[in-house]
Every structure is written in structure tokens, then in C-alpha cells.
Symmetry: C2
Subunit: 444 residues, 2 copies
């Protein structure tokens, strides 16, 4: 069979990784795909760089429009990122009857619904395994591997930068700023790290996974997003003493009231496999009603791991491109006319457990006041630790783990606790998930 | 679209699980598959039992031939296990133009090549996600998720019974027989447990994964298979002291000389994620040249986890059954006319590291004799521990970890060491894998 021709837009890290892997493993990939996969044309503003990567048998252009309109190109790979230009190019590629492979999570989480609808109309595929968790084939697992299941929840370490920083803080006792600098020095964090450490990148990814897990449209604007910048060494240490690790998790969960969609630092029991995922690695736990818990682990970023997913999509599209569009795997796992309109729950209606830490005067009656406030709001306490004051100090750290409660209640309780005269400063609040069932936490 | 009709052969544990999940989640599954999936006919020798499971709208028969020849049936699910009858039925179903879904690892590992060839000729699909690692979508990951990669090795905990026994031995300090009885009491081990604890079940599964990872035919007869029955509490304890856990692994690895295909107890560093997989759970690590290490974890057995994979196959087949057969995902990941004939390496040519334990007289010169024997065979030692003799005893336990060497060499060394007058009894030998690269072990 004749090779299938591909156009590549963007030869940055992932683009050049894709080119390199496709060339290195071309024989093996062709044996799998049933035909060769050839990058016919590359668009990049840095034409010379593209030429150097590609060699002589590939067309090079500075104008991406040449790729999305090229008559010989069957599949367009979009790897420039960003919203406006990428969206225009993808829609134009679709309009021209090209299949699209993209790693652009920001674009899909924001405009995925529109893009998939356009692809549906034209009968082409938009594949995006590389948009979530780098080389881990999690989109495929959710969309095809677990189709028997009613998915109950998905929870993942899906930002390697944050996980590296948290690992360093725990393993080396570093504070946040030092660990961040370390990450920047090693190239794991950008000079402007906000995108990663504020949870935005993770919000894109969990939004995409929620859509596929539950058959709902992409709704990035409804995702609750909280990063790791306020975490202290102390909280990581205290969590450890109580048998927990703190990870930045993207979580989406089906409840009777709606779907939870949230990114925030989370205590998880240290005996869980996912609690032991260290450094820049990613892992996602999926809970299905039939299969139970499954976990998927691997590199969440990097040139070749991400290229692995881009090329897996190329092979998929190559295998499926002659299939009747109605029988292809739907973009969002569910048939587009059968998407669900279950609402996303506002964060204050989300129910979870909490780690609370506060500093108070070391005198009688303080604990009684705090527990009374919690009891009045029906928040029960699973564990409480009061740290002995340091020599000469009269203030103590109090750490509590609560059972399940609604976020609105804990917020109200915190406001009241902070008003107690014996309580100094703010109450630190970190959410806690057992990740095994919906049972409230148990004492350790 | 009209529902697709399925015939189910065998309503044991997995069969009734499949029926239950398919009914419970029928709406969600249809939204994914694009049409309903209906079990039209069930064959089981226990007709009354089948009737009770299925209700009135399903045909029940004691003769499986009624299923594989039924004109309305598009997909046949084979869940009776065993070799002869299952093979006949599957071949007959294929001959009648039915697609087949099976969980029969023994059959595929032994006769898969013949079955896939028959399916190829008739243009039908044979899907078998449930044959390996229960609910974990590992076949899909290997066959579709990692197509960009030259797979370097696959290593997995793929027998839940053995992993449960090893977990109990380590966590509770039990000996093998007590842990096995415990497993039997809990229903995790059969009355005749040989199939699981002798590594045969794991050999079936690693044979199937090797075929898909490397594009080679099924070659169960060339798999080296060693179970866990000879492992002692002491070895598990000593391994722990050196920073390792002992797991029954199925391993297949591509080397310059051929493909390794083996099942045996293996020391792995306890900090590896897979070393922390406990109880009946399964996990598989895949090393690809582009993606690096990925890991897949979940329930390796049980009614509903296995049903999850059976139904995922049903949805896959439903989605793909109208596709041009040439463009479907190939059964063994690679196009059937492009399978590779790389040989399977004989076990004595396999290179790995070793844990050796022996008992010797506590006198000078013994260690010198042992290390001389190893040095003469170019086997270098990564770690050595000599346990102080108990009060009043004159014998010591000596434990060594070697660097990489060829199995033939270690066997020869062991024969020579056992002949030393100061050495009592046999040398215990357990293979060791770092599972991160091909580097020799480092001291801990």
C-alpha cells in the first residue's frame, strides 16, 4: 500500500521528537500501521531549523496554510500550541478534509466542542492522545479500554513540574521557593512557571478527561483550579506523620448532584500506589464500576514520550481512515449526539475530607471552641494532633483531619475558627481524598 | 442503528459478570458503541443456571454449536476455557463469519497463530483483551497505545494468586505453605493451585504479550517457566534487607541475540512502583524506546474486571466491524504478513543479575573460595552479606548479589560452589532485575 502523507506544523520540542521517532522506527511503525507514514511537509517560522531537522526529501514552508491545504496531505499534526492561530489552522485543515492530530490541551479544553463538531460534519478524525499525560495512553484507555464501565472518578498527577517540586519538598525538606528554583535549573519549570504551578495545565487535562469519562462537553471555565504555591514544608511534614502525601491532583467525579471538576493539592494515603509517583512522572487512577481501580503511569512530558502519543494517533488514524465515520471511535468516547448534560458542580457543593492546620495559644478551652464550631456544622474529626510548643513558646500547631463534608461548610467553619481570639492568623486547609471508595477517612 | 447480536458460550464467573455488566451499563455502553449490544443466545451445559442469569428474552442452549452457527449472531464470546472444545468452537465461529471475543489465554498462547490466520482469511476479528491481566487494558496499550515505539521489554506481575501469596509471606512473615492455605481459604487459589503457583498461567500471558510487543508468533513452548513454590521466608527477608522485593514476574525482552521469554521469581528494587503492587492486583511495566517506562495497574482477575475487558472488546468489534479488514488493528499489533522471526533465546543464554544464598561453615577461606569461583567465570559481585551465626552454631548464611552474567555461567558457578566442602546443601538462586535500564545492579 502507498504511504500516507502527513503535514507537520511546528518543529519545537515535540515536533522534532515526532520527526526523529518516526524516522528511527519507520520500519516497525509501518509493520504496525500496514503502510508507511511519511512527513511530506513541515511548517515552521524557523525555516532553517526545520530544514536541518527534516533533511532534503521534505517540503519546508514558513506558512502553515501550505500544510493544511496541501493536496497530498491526509493528516495534519498541529504542534504550535496556543489558541487563536492553532484553532484557525485546525479548522482549516478539517475544512479541507484532513484528519488532525494535536497535542494542544489548552485549545481542546477551551474550544474542543466546536472543533469536534466541525470534524464530525466533515467526517474526519481529530486525535489528541498527546494532549493529556504525555506518553501515557490514557485517552485510549478511557475512550476504548474501559467502555464497559460507568466511570465513577478519575484522579491524576498530571503536571510533572508540580510533582517534581512536591517530591523535592518532601524528600529533601525544601521550601517551595527553593524547590521551584531547583526545578527551573533542571529545565522542569519555565521561567514563568505560573501555568504549571497554579494548576492551569492540570485543569486543561482534567477537563479533557472529564469529557471522555462522562460523555460531557469540554467545560474548562467551570473547573476549580488551585495550585501548589501556598504549600509549606510543615504541611508536607505533618501530612507525612499522619500517613499521607500531598500531591497536586486533577480530580473529576460523578456524584448524584453533578460532576466534580477540580485541581488542587490533595492529601492521599501514602500506601496508595499513586502516592509513590515521584519527580516529573505522571499517573492517573480511573475508577470504573466494573473494573475497579486501574492506574496508568509514565512520562507526562518530554520530546519523545509526547511524540510516542502523537505517532500512536497517526497510526490509529491511518488504520481507521478508510472506516465508515459512523463506526469510528467517537472523539469524546460517546457518540456526539448522545453527550450528557449533567452539570458541573460548583466547588462549594463538593464533598470531601480536609486537613486543617492552625496555630493557637496553648491554653485550655481552645480545642473545645474549635471542636464545638465543627460539631455545630456536623463536621466530624477523624484525627487530631496537637504539637507540643517549642521551648519558651506559648503557641501550638493543631492539625486535624475531618471526615467528609461539603466545601461550603468547611469554609464557614474556617471563618469562625479564625475569629477565635486564641487562634493566630489563617487556617490552612488542604483537601484529602482516600482514592479507594467514597468512605470517610479512617484514623491511621 | 440496530443493536448488534452477540452469542455467549459459558456463563461461569466471567460469563455471568459479562452479562451483568452489559445489562447494568447498557445505556452507557450503547452511547459509546453507537448502537446497542445484545446477548441473543447463551450456551452452557447448565441450562437452568443460564436461564436464571439471562431472563426470558435470551435464547438458551446446551449446545455451543447453536451459538457459533446462529444466523443473527455477529460476535461470539468464548468463555469456557480449555483447549480442544474451545478451539473447535472458535474456528467454527470464524468459519461462519462471526467475530470472536475470548479470554482464553491458554488457547491463544498455544494455538493463537493458527486461530489468527483463520480469522485473517475470513476477514473477521478475534479480540482477547480479557486474556491478559483481567481488567487492565494492556493489550490495547501494547497494540495501539505504544505503536510509535520499538518495545524493549515488558515485565509484569500477571498472576494475582502468586502475588497475594508473596505479599502475605512478606507482610506477615508467613512461610509459603501457610500463605498458600490462606489464599485457598480466601478463594484466591484453587484447590489444585499448580497452574498459578508454578507460573504456567503467567507463561501464557507473557507469551501473548511478547507476540504483540515484538511482532512474533505465539511460542508458549519456548517460555522458561519457574514458579514460587521454592521461595522461603528467609529469602524474602534477606531481599528486603538489601532493598529488594521478590515478585513473580513474566518478562520478555528484546536483545541482540534474540528474545527472552521467561517467568520466575525476581528481585526488584523496592522503590520501583511495581514492587509496591500488593495482594491479588496485577501490574505491567512496558519499556519503549520513545515513551520510556509506562506502567498499567489493576485487577487481574474476577468476574467484573474481566467482564470489563470482554465488553471493551465487544465495543471495539462493534465499532470496527464495518471497517475494511485491511485497515483494522492487526491481531498481533503487526500486520500478519510482516511478523518477525527473531528467535526466542534459550534460558541459559539469558543475561541477568542474581541473588545467591548459601549456608557455609563459619571458617576462614570459604568466602575466598566462593569469590574465586565467581571471578574465574567473570561474575562480579555487587553486594555481599554474611550473617553472624546464631549462638552455638558454626554455620553462616552468605547472601550475594551479582552483576549481569549469563545464566549458563551462574549455573556452572553454583555447581562448583556446591562442591566446596565448607558449603552445606544447595545454593539458592533468584534472578534480579533492576527494571530501569540494562545497567548492572548498584550497591544499596
Amino acid at each position: 500500500m502507498k504511504p500516507i502523507n502527513v503535514g507537520l506544523i511546528g518543529v519545537g520540542t515535540v515536533g522534532s521528537g515526532t520527526f526523529a521517532v518516526l524516522r528511527r522506527n519507520q520500519e516497525e511503525i509501518a509493520r504496525r500501521a500496514g503502510r508507511g507514514i511519511v512527513i511530506k511537509i513541515i511548517a515552521d517560522l524557523e525555516v532553517d531549523k526545520a530544514r536541518k531537522i527534516a533533511g532534503d526529501d521534505t517540503l519546508i514552508t514558513a506558512d502553515a496554510n501550505d500544510v493544511v491545504t496541501h493536496p497530498d496531505v491526509s493528516i495534519v499534526i498541529e504542534l504550535i500550541g496556543g489558541l487563536t492561530t492553532a484553532k484557525e489552522l485546525i479548522l482549516k485543515a478539517i475544512e479541507n478534509g484532513k484528519h488532525v492530530v494535536t497535542a494542544n490541551k489548552a485549545l481542546l479544553a477551551s474550544h474542543g466542542t466546536e472543533i469536534f463538531a466541525a470534524a464530525q460534519r466533515k467526517g474526519v478524525m481529530v486525535a489528541f492522545e498527546a494532549a493529556v499525560a504525555g506518553g501515557i495512553p490514557i485517552i485510549k484507555a478511557l475512550r476504548e479500554g474501559l467502555t464497559a464501565n460507568r466511570i465513577e472518578w478519575v484522579a491524576g498527577i498530571i503536571n510533572g513540574t508540580s510533582n517534581f517540586i512536591l517530591s523535592e519538598m518532601r524528600n529533601k525538606g525544601l521550601d517551595f521557593d527553593t524547590a521551584l528554583k531547583q526545578a527551573q535549573k533542571l529545565g522542569y519549570a519555565e521561567v514563568d512557571p505560573a501555568f504549571d504551578i497554579e494548576g492551569i495545565d492540570a485543569a486543561h487535562k482534567i477537563t479533557i478527561m472529564a469529557a471522555i469519562a462522562f460523555g460531557i462537553p469540554m467545560q474548562l471555565d467551570k473547573a476549580y483550579t488551585e495550585g501548589i504555591t501556598k504549600l509549606t514544608r510543615e504541611d508536607i511534614h505533618y501530612a507525612g506523620e499522619l500517613g499521607y502525601r500531598i500531591k497536586l491532583l486533577g480530580i473529576t467525579k460523578r456524584t448524584s448532584k453533578g460532576i466534580e471538576l477540580r485541581v488542587h493539592p490533595t492529601l492521599i494515603p501514602s500506601r496508595r500506589l499513586i502516592a509513590n509517583v515521584e519527580g516529573v512522572m505522571n499517573a492517573i487512577v480511573v475508577k470504573g464500576d466494573a473494573v475497579g481501580h486501574t492506574l496508568y503511569y509514565g512520562a507526562g512530558a518530554g520530546a519523545e514520550p509526547t511524540a510516542s502519543s502523537v505517532i500512536a494517533d497517526l497510526v490509529d488514524v491511518t488504520r481507521m481512515h478508510t472506516a465508515d465515520p459512523k463506526h469510528r471511535v467517537p472523539h469524546l468516547a460517546f457518540q456526539p449526539d448522545l453527550l450528557s448534560n449533567i452539570p458541573i458542580l460548583p466547588m462549594e457543593e463538593v464533598e470531601t475530607s480536609y486537613y486543617l492546620r492552625l496555630r493557637a495559644m496553648d491554653k485550655t478551652g481552645v480545642l473545645a471552641d474549635i471542636t464545638r464550631i465543627l460539631a455545630e456544622l456536623n463536621i466530624s474529626i477523624g484525627a487530631m494532633v496537637q504539637k507540643e510548643p517549642n521551648e519558651g513558646e506559648d503557641k501550638v500547631d493543631i492539625i486535624m483531619l475531618t471526615h467528609l463534608t461539603v466545601e461550603r461548610n468547611i469554609n464557614y467553619a474556617i471563618t469562625k475558627i479564625e475569629k477565635l481570639p486564641a487562634v493566630m492568623g489563617n487556617v490552612t486547609r488542604i483537601r484529602l481524598e482516600e482514592l479507594n471508595s467514597n468512605h470517610p477517612i479512617k484514623n491511621n
